[in-house]
């Protein structure tokens, strides 16, 4: 990237160009990889539940998501360039203002922060690595399908967020224009930042209540869940192969322990109730009932 790092808009432009080239390369590489996988795994994939009728990951849907994201990114870039141009047309640009506005008009933090869920889900889901994939073919194909689906859903969600950023940027620019027309000025970077925060917050909160946002969140959550489950299936396979306890077996043990503890609690309650009843019948005091109800040695509850 050759962009001048002191100019945020050139930086953004450079980043966008790199992103575009990267996306093209990624798409081409993926197509090759999936084609290769199909040839190698043709037989192994028979009978496996798959994301598409051929058992292949839905590469076309992923491409569509990438295209839509790319289209919006171009619009975002255009907005940023316009702001940059307007700034240069005005009074001699103050470097502090230029840098600060550049940061404000950078949509990337909207993905990294509002994409928290995506990040957390990915972190939670991406425990196992992909190194052993070729050894458990059918299950691995499921993992790849689920992984592709998660990438696609993540892109779709980022597209919704990018759209929101565009709306916020437009609203912010409009507000600045209106202030200029009214002859009002913002005299500190804090004032500019406060205006941006207020504008962006409103747009973000409105976006979060929208159907596209909720739907893309749900899709991403479900895709992450399916990836986690597909990976667990691979882990179960390995555990069984090497004689280790499986996740399902451990969960079964936990269930038994929980049920036993529940029973113990109920039995203790019944025992205490019985003791209290007997103590009351014999006219004993509450303290006596307590003593009778606690036959277990010290620390038995612990």
């Amino acid at each position: 990237m050759t962009a001048n790092p002191t100019n945020p808009f050139e930086y953004m432009q450079g980043l966008a160009a790199m992103w575009g080239r990267g996306a093209e390369g990624f798409a081409a590489a993926q197509q090759t990889m999936f084609r290769d996988m199909a040839e190698r795994m043709g037989k192994a994939a028979e009978g496996a539940p798959a994301a598409s009728p051929t058992g292949m990951p839905d590469a076309e849907a992923l491409m569509a998501a990438q295209r839509e994201y790319s289209r919006l990114w171009s619009s975002a870039l255009e907005v940023s360039q316009t702001v940059g141009r307007v700034m240069r047309e005005g009074a001699p640009p103050d470097p502090l203002v230029t840098e600060m506005l550049g940061k404000i008009f950078d949509p990337r933090p909207w993905f990294s922060s509002n994409d928290d869920i995506d990040g957390e889900l990915r972190r939670l889901a991406e425990g196992p690595r992909l190194a052993d994939l070729w050894q458990v073919e059918r299950r691995v194909l499921n993992v790849f399908n689920a992984w592709t689906e998660l990438r696609r859903r993540s892109l779709e969600h980022n597209t919704v967020m990018l759209d929101a950023w565009l709306k916020a940027a437009t609203a912010f620019a409009k507000e600045l224009n209106q202030k200029a027309e009214r002859g009002e000025v913002l005299e500190s970077w804090r004032a500019v930042l406060a205006l941006w925060v207020e504008t962006a917050n409103t747009v973000l909160l409105e976006t979060q209540r929208s159907e596209p946002y909720l739907q893309s969140q749900r899709n991403m959550l479900n895709a992450s869940t399916e990836l986690q489950l597909a990976q667990q299936e691979v882990a179960e396979f390995y555990s069984q192969m090497f004689g280790y306890p499986t996740r399902a077996e451990l969960d079964d043990v936990y269930k038994t322990v929980t049920e036993l503890r529940r029973e113990v609690r109920a039995l203790r309650r019944d025992a205490r109730a019985g003791a209290t009843k007997r103590a009351n019948k014999s006219g004993g005091a509450r303290g006596k009932a307590k003593a009778q109800a606690s036959p277990a040695p010290e620390g038995a509850d612990r």
Binding site: T82, L96, G119, L205, T258, R269, R286, G287
Partner: protein, 370 residues
């Protein structure tokens, strides 16, 4: 966008002064950071003693800070979504300390840190099981028939359910920021309020089942992310702008860090209990309809016959006031009081004005009902 010059006119001298002040702030903050000790950001420090323990659940009794004037003892129950330390964040922002100073005999239940091994625990295990055992322990220790319950957030739902199922064991019920009608979030349509309600309803019940099956529980980090989504710009700015604002002021900086410590300590919510919480309550809203079942028994809010104090935060974006206030029309007592306080969900406990009102409000109300 037109070519109107942007109305940002920062004078070079002002910019330099601002930058210099900023650098000074950062330098002072860095110095504070360097000298920071772990004990300075400890939370939940009010002295207390363990009096009972079962599995991962511990019952503590706080040591008195004044002569006991309020009886019977008060049992504080937080939910499983966060930790009870919110009520005792720091010495000068502590509901626990405020109540102790006002003469309450205080106990708190700590649910611990559930792991995957606890995935099968259901809400009835927590409410009828552990909470019930805590009530029994306190009752036996003090030789009393009923205790005061103080529920916070999800813990308020626990105490509400317990009181409805065991009215004789509860002398007074105090609820703070507690959701009862999980669908009342739309009553006062305020932007950003009730997002968790909306978000949970956007999921299908089977989405929740699959999520829990995959993780075994509702991961604490996941819930943390959902909470972050509710204040999007605040989340974006928190670690640069907000921290920068306070980092040269030791008191404010330590407050900030203690709050961050509490936020980071978000336990996993046991899986089966999370399914009930999200599906039965958030999605199907069974509690307000008297349809919520625990261990085969329906929770009938009309069976809540003891006095009730319902405290809510007027700007609570997580538990919008209407979701709490719905309880008033459902309880079986005429001694029902609402205490609206300024501030948000957490601000009620740590905000300068609210937390003082909260402590005295609860203490006075309890003192009048001994």
């Amino acid at each position: 966008m037109s070519s109107t010059p942007i109305p940002v006119q920062i004078k070079p001298s002002d910019a330099i002064a601002e930058a210099a002040a900023l650098f000074q702030k950062i330098a002072r903050g860095a110095e504070l950071f360097r000298n920071l000790r772990d004990e300075q950001v400890e939370i939940g420090t009010t002295p207390k003693d363990e009096v009972w323990r079962q599995d991962k659940v511990t019952l503590y009794r706080y040591r008195p800070l004044a002569e006991t004037r309020i009886g019977p003892p008060v049992l504080v129950a937080y939910g499983l979504v966060g930790r009870y330390t919110m009520a005792d964040l720091q010495e000068d922002r502590s509901l626990v300390r405020n109540l102790l100073k006002l003469g309450a005999d205080l106990y708190v239940v700590d649910w611990g840190h559930p792991s995957r091994a606890d995935r099968w625990l259901r809400l009835e295990d927590y409410i009828e099981g552990y909470l019930g055992e805590c009530v029994r322990e306190i009752s036996e220790r003090h030789d009393i028939a009923a205790v005061n319950l103080l529920g916070i957030c999800e813990g308020g739902v626990f105490t509400t359910c317990y009181a409805a199922l065991n009215p004789k064991a509860v002398k007074n019920l105090v609820l703070t920021i507690t959701p009862i009608d999980f669908h009342a979030d739309g009553e006062h349509d305020r932007l950003g309020h009730g997002f968790i309600n909306l978000w949970t309803r956007s999921l299908a019940p089977e989405d929740i089942d699959r999520l829990i099956d995959a993780h075994g529980n509702l991961p604490g980090e996941f819930m943390g992310s959902v909470f972050s989504m509710m204040t999007p710009m605040r989340t974006l700015m928190k670690y640069n702008l907000d921290m920068l604002e306070v980092m040269d002021d030791e008191k404010k900086f330590l407050n900030f860090l203690r709050m961050e410590k509490w936020i980071a300590d978000r336990p996993h919510h046991p899986g089966e209990a999370a399914k009930q919480w999200l599906k039965d309550l958030y999605q199907q809203n069974k509690l307000i309809q008297n349809e919520f079942e625990l261990g085969g028994r329906k929770v009938d809010l009309g069976k809540i016959t003891m006095p009730v104090l319902n405290v809510f935060a007027q700007d609570d974006h997580i538990i919008p006031p209407a979701t709490s206030q719905a309880l008033g029309a459902k309880v079986g007592t005429k001694d029902y009081t609402e205490l609206p306080l300024p501030g948000g969900h957490v601000g009620v406990f740590v905000g300068g004005k609210s937390q003082a009102l909260l402590g005295s409000g609860i203490a006075n109300w309890l003192a009048a009902r001994q």
